[in-house]
């Protein structure tokens, strides 16, 4: 405990430097006065102001958010259903095959997923654009939701569902009144995961996009090929900020809940 040897300090500095130096640089240069990205010329927020006037970038951001919202929601519904089927019906024919097929996209190279989806859309004559991107995102994020929800369901006490049935609730009512509220936190984390995955996907979006549907990662990528502008740094800084706030808030809420729960349980024991 507490031995701040040089070796330990060096390891920490190296490790965190490796992880965060690029991001810190990006954030710093987003406040650069100069138009030249690598030359520091004083503090300024003008690139953030300029961002608001870049209609193309704002359009891309709006497309990205809509795709992420719709695909995350659909993927959550489908992924939760798949998880339920996999956990509950352990004896149906072809279960192994089915579960393998749900998880395959987790390890499938994105290029292959993207290409196969493109082939499918071309084959059935679907006009590529906003909806094909959304469909593609549902496809690849669904399995992540299924994994998250399935791990929750494995520790789910099924007797509470039986208790609900026993008390006169039909299976459908039991699902909505008992099962869903209890697994809601896992379903919600599945949704958040699907949302963020959709938000920063570049490869699959590039394959399945069409005219008029450009997501933010695609926009940033294409602009960077023409040279990095401080504007790009600014929008990336905003993205980092949003994600960081989300993570911090989520962990604080979880911590507080756990602490509250522990207090309650101790109180219950003390007076029993």
């Amino acid at each position: 405990m507490g031995t701040w040897s040089r070796f330990n300090i060096a390891s920490i500095v190296l490790g965190f430097g490796f992880l965060y130096l690029p991001i810190v640089l990006l954030v710093i240069f987003s406040f650069n006065e100069s138009k030249l990205v690598t030359v520091w010329a004083g503090f300024s927020t003008k690139w953030y102001a300029q961002l608001l006037h870049n209609q193309a970038l704002l359009d891309a951001a709006w497309v990205t958010i809509r795709v992420a919202l719709i695909s995350a929601t659909c993927a959550t519904v489908l992924g939760t259903l798949a998880a339920l089927a996999l956990v509950r019906y352990t004896r149906f024919r072809g279960r192994m095959l089915f579960s393998g097929m749900v998880y395959a996209p987790l390890v499938m190279p994105e290029v292959i997923t993207g290409l196969s989806l493109l082939l499918l859309f071309v084959a059935i004559g679907l006009d590529r654009g906003f909806w094909t991107i959304t469909l593609a995102h549902i496809t690849f994020t669904m399995c992540f939701v299924a994994v998250v929800v399935q791990s929750r369901l494995l520790s789910f006490d099924r007797s509470i569902e039986e208790a609900a049935l026993d008390l006169g609730a039909t299976p459908v009512r039991t699902f909505f009144a008992i099962t869903l509220p209890v697994i809601a936190p896992a379903v919600f984390s599945g949704w958040v995961l699907a949302f963020t995955l959709s938000l920063d996907d570049l490869v699959i979006s590039s394959f399945t996009t069409g005219p008029g549907a450009t997501t933010l990662p695609m926009k940033i990528y294409s602009q960077v090929r023409l040279g990095v502008t401080p504007e790009i740094n600014a929008i990336c800084t905003i993205l980092i900020g949003v994600v960081a706030i989300g993570v911090v808030v989520a962990s604080i809420v979880t911590k507080q809940r756990e602490a509250q729960r522990e207090r309650d349980e101790r109180a219950a024991f003390a007076q029993s």
Binding site: A163, P171, F269
Partner: protein, 380 residues
Amino acid sequence: MKSLGSIRRSFAPWADPASKPFISVKNVTKRFGDFTAVDDLSLDIYTREFFALLGASGCGKSTLLRMLAGFEQPTSGEIILDGQSLAGIPPYRRPVNMMFQSYALFPHMTVENNIAFGLKQDGMPKADIAARVAQMLKLVKLEKFSQRKPHQLSGGQRQRVALARSLAKRPKVLLLDEPLGALDKKLREETQFELMDLQQELGLTFVVVTHDQEEAMTMADRIAVMSHGKVIQVATPAEIYEAPNSRFVADFIGDVNIFEGAVSGAEGGYVRLEGANGFPIRMASPERPAAGARSAVAVRPEKIRVSRQPPANAPVNAVQGEIWDIGYLGDMTVFHVRLKDGRVIKASSLNAVRAVEDPLGYDQEVWVSFGEDAGVVLKD
């Protein structure tokens, strides 16, 4: 309460051929793949009866209970409740409720909403639900806890919430799966009597599953002892204990000494056994087994006397040995007496006085003996 006591004492509908059973389990078999959990089982349970299914884990008692609740369907056979077959009726349309071993409280609902859940499913008016919930909370003495969530309660409180929830709908039959299994010993004993009073007060039929024989003996009007999916004996606790119908039941309920031998004669309501124990046994028995047949006599430890002097009727029902182990339990003392052939006989005696002048000690030569009506002649 006095009147309830007298009702209870005279309560024996199973002995009356005119009374109709409330629940009839008829030749029910339940198989899971190759495993037969319940094997051609038939059973009658009467209105207002406190009925216990007793057996070791895996004997099929819980499966039978789950078939009554509707969570499992019999592979063959039929269950009839109040004159109506339960075949194909899902759990949410059966007039029975169950209290689960794990309590199965809804973790996201308050105590109040847990209890109200079943009533809401029936579409009961709000005011009636509130009144019924208040009544149930009072019944289990949890009025102050109505707004708590299950994780804010102690184990005993959770047990009472589970009980209140399963009673709220006034089911015709309450099924209880190891209702006291998760409580500590002291609380369990208190709750046993609470459950009995409650059942009397509400006039309900209780079917309880337990592996704890003391619990079954204390609470139940009748006990069904189960093994490997079959019912071995159905009888009152006293009959089960004093007149077990088989070696399995004698061995399963309480402690017992089994003396084997060959029947050498039967006269005037008594059976004589000679054999492996090195002393003759004479035991009262309604049965008259044929001479020469292998038989066994079961004698409970508390009916065996340990003495320094040979008893009057020695050597019949009496044998010598030395004290091998002494277990002092406070209210009584258990002796393990080792015979010459190495067999150990268990005897227990009540500690009626605080200090005995010359107590029996280890390695002492003693006589163990029992009366001619102390044991049961077993059929198998």
